[in-house]
Amino acid sequence: MKRLHLVAWLAAALLVAACGSTPGGGTSNANSYSGKTIKLGAILSITGAGGVYGPQSRDGANLAVKQINASGGVNGAQITLTINDDASDKAQSAQVAQKLIQSEQDLALLGPTLSNSAVAVHPLAESLKTPILAVSTTGIHIVPDCNFPATTPCKYVFRDSLGEETAIPTNIKSYATDKHPATGVLLVAQDDKFSSDGGKIVQDTVGQYNINLLKTIKFNKAEADLSPYVTQAVQAKPDVIFITSLGGIPAKIMTEARKQGWQGQFLGGNGFNTATVSKQAGADGKGARSASAWYLGNTFASNKEFVDAYKAEYSKDPDQFAAQGYTAIKVLADAAKRANLTFSDLAGDRDKLRTAMESVNIQTPLGPFQFTSTHDVKQTVWVIAMDGAGGFTLVHEVKQS
């Protein structure tokens, strides 16, 4: 009888041990990556037009790396993340990606900051079978059709940033429901993918809400003197001015339009969503609305932890870009943990990581996080307004449907 008990205990113990060693099963896997390094590379726009977004993505990502490494790493492996500036230049972005994938042999990449650069970088990563997670690109045809106009879904390209195809219509709908504007003018930078995509979405959306688009005014993003364009917009006396552009341009347009005495509502896209732009616009931007993937005061469990840690690290509030950068590292770390990496077969590891990314299901500052079947995000959208002092106030919370 005693012997039978012993055998039963042994069998049970063996069974537990066996379960523990299956992928994702439990704690006995914890040290299997011990002493290894998970090499990640980020391609961000630290300088150039995207320089108002990239540094925040960098800070968010670095914070996540620091936290993960401090708490034992990924199954014992430490993450190294190199930040590479693409100067907001498409060609440079692709060169950097090539270097990270082929000479640096990074396991996976983050970025690039701008949709304009993504059209060069993502197809490259796809063809070199390297997982890449976009942290701030919101244009059309980022996922899954990274090789647009080819429609074959890209297997290695993911994004954790909210697409303008969701964000802009949500924002317009929310404002139309609140204030019923009758007329609008669109100011769009025509020589940048993110901006011109946004412009198209505005044009396609306004009709649904009975807003008459009086005029679409296109300009080039390098033009310093935007006053003739703003004058044209103001002279049309619209209820709303839509701005789809990036960098410091939205703030400049707001300032110029207010100087010319226009009192209406500014609506925009992801280009508005950083503290840098809100600060540049100052009082002239007060009330300007956009739909954001993240809001400082959101009540998701892991958001407070993120905000507190970010403030402690950098002595300033994070913004949407920081939250997305932070989330990206958490997503990659979770996937790496479950991927049974070998650290000897890079191509095999990249494939395993890619597969594991598809089943990520974690809590993040953006909310509960899972990729859709098209590798995109599905999440709560926050309609926010600039507060006139470098921050944002919450207007509406639009839950994912």
Binding site: I46, T47, G48, A49, G51, V52, P55, S88, Q190, I217, K218, F219, N220, A222, E223, A224, D225, S227, P228, Y229, T231, Q232, V234, Q235, G247, G248, K252, T255, K259, Q260, G261, Q280, G282
Partner: protein
């Protein structure tokens, strides 16, 4: 429409002031100083950096900014122009050497990141910056439908006064006569006892200082200062202005500047935004075909 005319005059003043410096050097040396757009940018960037990074008052920063632009003129002369002149190199060599210097100046400002040699020149990682509101008092008036903003309105008298002063110096003073003599025939001027090298240095310094002023006015009035403002906004347009006005003619550069401002703004209004650059250069092309010497090329036989 009225506001658009004002917009045209504001930007035209800056084009004119920039082009006056451009054309001055061309008038005297028969060389296009393509570093002029970099000096334009340097004036604006340095003034900004002095105010923001080094806590100087705007006025002090402007004076240092203009002085530094003038000094950059000396660098242009001693590095790009004089050594080539000594070796009787063709004008194209000087053209290339000034392009090179322009690239170096832009790169130096671009590298202005914390901890680098040029960190004091620029703001870490910033692309385009503007003076924070309140640095310069900037009241805005509304008259009817018109908006008059002090920082833009000020561009007009400052530009006009500087251009008139330059015109006076060149036409009525001893120095001006010497400059014109060098422009007309350097060899004869030297034989008459003029220090030609000194006159040329002076020309490039005045030209560069004017370029610096134009850059500062541009940065303040348009709220846009970046390492690329010279290259993107005035380099090629400056060329268009001096061709419109007549190569080497100062009144031509002034009229050409305002003309280009008007053409550009009306192109935006009449034909839409994409037309801005195209229409301006179509006008330039038309001028080259119909009147290759430019607006003021024929009346003024003499240079500058």
């Amino acid at each position: 429409m009225d506001q658009q005319i004002l917009n045209a005059i504001f930007i035209g003043s800056i084009y004119a002031l920039f082009a006056v410096g451009y054309t001055l050097v061309f008038g005297v040396l028969d060389i296009l100083n393509l570093a002029h757009s970099a000096v334009f940018m340097l004036g604006a960037a340095l003034t900004y950096s002095l105010v923001i990074n080094h806590g100087q008052s705007f006025l002090v920063a402007c004076i240092i900014g203009v002085a530094a632009s003038g000094l950059m003129g000396l660098v242009i002369e001693h590095v790009c122009l004089r050594p080539l002149r000594r070796r009787r190199a063709p004008p194209i060599a000087a053209l290339i050497s000034t392009v090179g210097l322009a690239l170096i100046i832009v790169a130096a400002i671009e590298q202005g990141q914390r901890g680098t040699l040029f960190g004091w020149l620029w703001v870490d990682g910033a692309n385009s910056v503007a003076f924070p509101p309140g640095t310069i008092p900037n009241p805005t008036w509304h008259i009817g439908d018109l908006t008059l903003e002090a920082s833009k309105v000020a561009v007009i008298p400052i530009s006009v006064a500087l251009m008139l002063a330059l015109g006076y110096v060149i036409r009525y003073t001893q120095v001006g006569r010497a400059l014109r003599a060098v422009a007309e025939n350097p060899r004869a001027a030297r034989l008459m006892g003029l220090d030609v090298d000194r006159m040329i240095s002076l020309t490039v310094v005045i030209s560069s200082a004017l370029g610096g002023v134009a850059g500062i006015l541009f940065g303040v009035a348009l709220g846009d200062i970046s390492p690329y403002i010279g290259r993107d906004n005035v380099e090629v347009r400056g060329l268009a202005v001096i061709v419109l006005g007549g190569m080497g003619s100062i009144p031509g550069a002034v009229v050409g500047g305002y003309l280009l401002g008007l053409i550009e703004v009306f192109a935006v209004v009449a034909l839409g935004s994409g037309a801005r650059g195209g229409v301006a250069f179509a006008a330039l092309f038309l001028m080259l075909v119909l009147r290759p010497q430019g607006l003021f090329g024929a009346q003024l036989r003499e240079k500058i």
